[in-house]
Symmetry: C3
């Protein structure tokens, strides 16, 4: 499916093209998301004002919709941005933060799923929540990623999106094919917005990778490999966050090794 060589090509292409990625996201992760994109070599823009969101979405190379700290104002801006991005032929990615645990947000996320996202990435509780099959507590998952693989396949078939369930193992599916990814480090779960950064990087890869399934898998490999590299030098969650950004910037000097499944 994807290989260390295809990943190196994807990273090189992303850096050459420097895609402009428009993010509608929460105040919790806005800074980390923008820095993750900048560190990797993409160009972030975070406009959310009602009078400018359509213009920015249409001008950007990809749109990322993150439901963290959703407000009615931002929800409205998200609908406008999705319409503008779709109208301009740009791919958009959905991060269903808190879906399953927070009922009105779940409803909104299901509505968005009908608007043809190119990719959806969540933890197991969020992906299950999008299908009405339970859900987590707060914004953390209460389930292992493998428990949501069947849901991810179904969601991919229903929406046409590539769907990713992230966790200790990441799964990526277009409904038919399934890729499992084994890079990463447990400390990543102690840094707020790591999943949100992953979805933003999916947005960047959707803009430059020719195939969405490979694009999403490349993006999650980037995050997992940078997370592994960062964990080696980090002394805890604080330094992990910073080392992760450094590792994203140093990706081209890192040995990009897509980790095979164990055993």
């Amino acid at each position: 499916m994807i290989t260390s060589a295809s990943l190196a090509d994807a990273v090189a292409l992303l850096r050459q093209r420097r895609p402009l990625v428009h993010n509608l996201t929460s105040a919790v992760v806005a800074n980390f998301t923008a820095n993750a994109l900048l560190s990797l070599g993409a160009a972030p823009v975070m406009a959310e004002g009602a009078d400018e969101v359509a213009l920015v979405a249409a001008a950007a190379d990809a749109l990322v919709i993150n439901l963290g700290m959703l407000t009615p104002q931002r929800a409205s801006a998200m609908r406008t941005a999705v319409a503008a991005a779709s109208g301009a032929g740009r791919p958009w990615a959905l991060d269903p933060v808190g879906v399953g645990a927070i009922a009105p947000r779940t409803e909104f996320a299901r509505d968005l799923c009908r608007l043809r996202p190119a990719a959806i990435r969540g933890n197991a509780s969020e992906i299950l929540g999008l299908l009405g099959e339970g859900g987590g507590r707060g914004v953390d998952t209460t389930a292992r990623s493998d428990t949501a693989v069947a849901a991810a396949r179904q969601l991919a078939r229903e929406t046409g999106a590539v769907v990713a369930v992230t966790g200790a193992v990441d799964y990526v599916t277009d409904g038919a094919r399934l890729i499992s990814l084994h890079n990463g480090d447990p400390v990543m779960t102690r840094v707020t917005g790591m999943g949100c950064a992953a979805t933003a990087i999916i947005g960047a890869c959707l803009a430059t990778d020719p195939a969405p399934l490979a694009g999403v898998a490349h993006a999650l490999s980037i995050v997992g490999i940078a997370g592994e590299a960062a964990a080696q030098g980090a002394s805890g969650p604080g330094s992990m966050q910073i080392a992760f950004l450094d590792a994203l910037a140093a990706l081209d000097t890192t040995r990009l090794r897509v980790e095979p499944p164990p055993g």
Copy 2:
């Protein structure tokens, strides 16, 4: 009152239960607050949308209301969240950022104080400001913490809350008893949101500690001890912020020593 042993038990209990702490707070400190809670071992959630805030507040184990960058929308969400948390029997903590210096915010904070917060934590200017006794400039205190001890006692008696005044020495009172805490480091005042993180950690401890007075004192001891540990390796306010998060995560491997009063 509290001891190094009771603190170790409080930290162990918090990590075992992993309380879900709902924060309504400003964009300045949202990321640092969430990361402080995650690093310590609690689970943060930051929902503030009008249609989801009640649901999240009722589902969380504690609520933290931070008045930084207050807007009418967030003030309204705060009233809803406090009502929902109270209705569900959850404790809530108030951080009166800027109170005393900013008149309309002071009025709002006084209203909130009538809604039975379990804890209130501020600097000296903010605690004095809640009683109409002067106040700071901007969001920093212009007074030493000991100048607000009498005000803290009075506020505790009036509201039923445990009240904490933080500064070089921290004071915690339920109106009758008074605990003074001597951990900490001066560099902590150069990191934005350190007080806000302390109030969020108070929220986490209120959720798991059986007694509110001890819970607040344990929370401030955690912050002071992590601050001391962080200051040892930090080269300035930037690295202090990061080392503080690392130190929160490493608390169980640190010698937890509640610092006795000097002399």
Copy 3:
């Protein structure tokens, strides 16, 4: 124009007076901006609520208006804040983030320019955009800073503001005089909000420096010198952000050397 000695005096004065700097800015950069001001020795306050913004602006020593993630609500608060700061005789600085690339934001920025800002700082695309001469894509510049020097002079003459164009070389002009500044490091462009922090520091220097032209040049020298110092120990954009804050705090122990033009 400015010298290493005048810069040392400006830093010492700023730390002695500890100006209160009121920032209306985006969620992306709010934390980094506040920490940059705190690290340097100024006091940040970020109020933006409709009912408190005028009070805070009038009480602060300077106001900084940053157009990142502009919403109609924050635009309205900005007008109120500018009127209050002007009424109280306080200087205010404008950061025209995204101007030129985002049409409605460009219109709003032009309106603000008529309200007598003491300083305007942007990248080349933003300064050109304020004059209707093209503009960037997203929030990054697509032009070298020297291409906007003529525009900066014209803008300074039209508005009465000191205008700065930042880039590999920074230019500062009051319409007649032109200062070029050569400190800095390329990694600074990989950290989100570095320009925003520069404008916030301009606000602090406007509050304490007797002459606005020198104040803006001192502020940009502070940023450039701290950036150089930070780059020496940084391993990438993540650690650069943190080392920059540490370097701001350590400025008085650093050899403050205003870099002369090369050759």
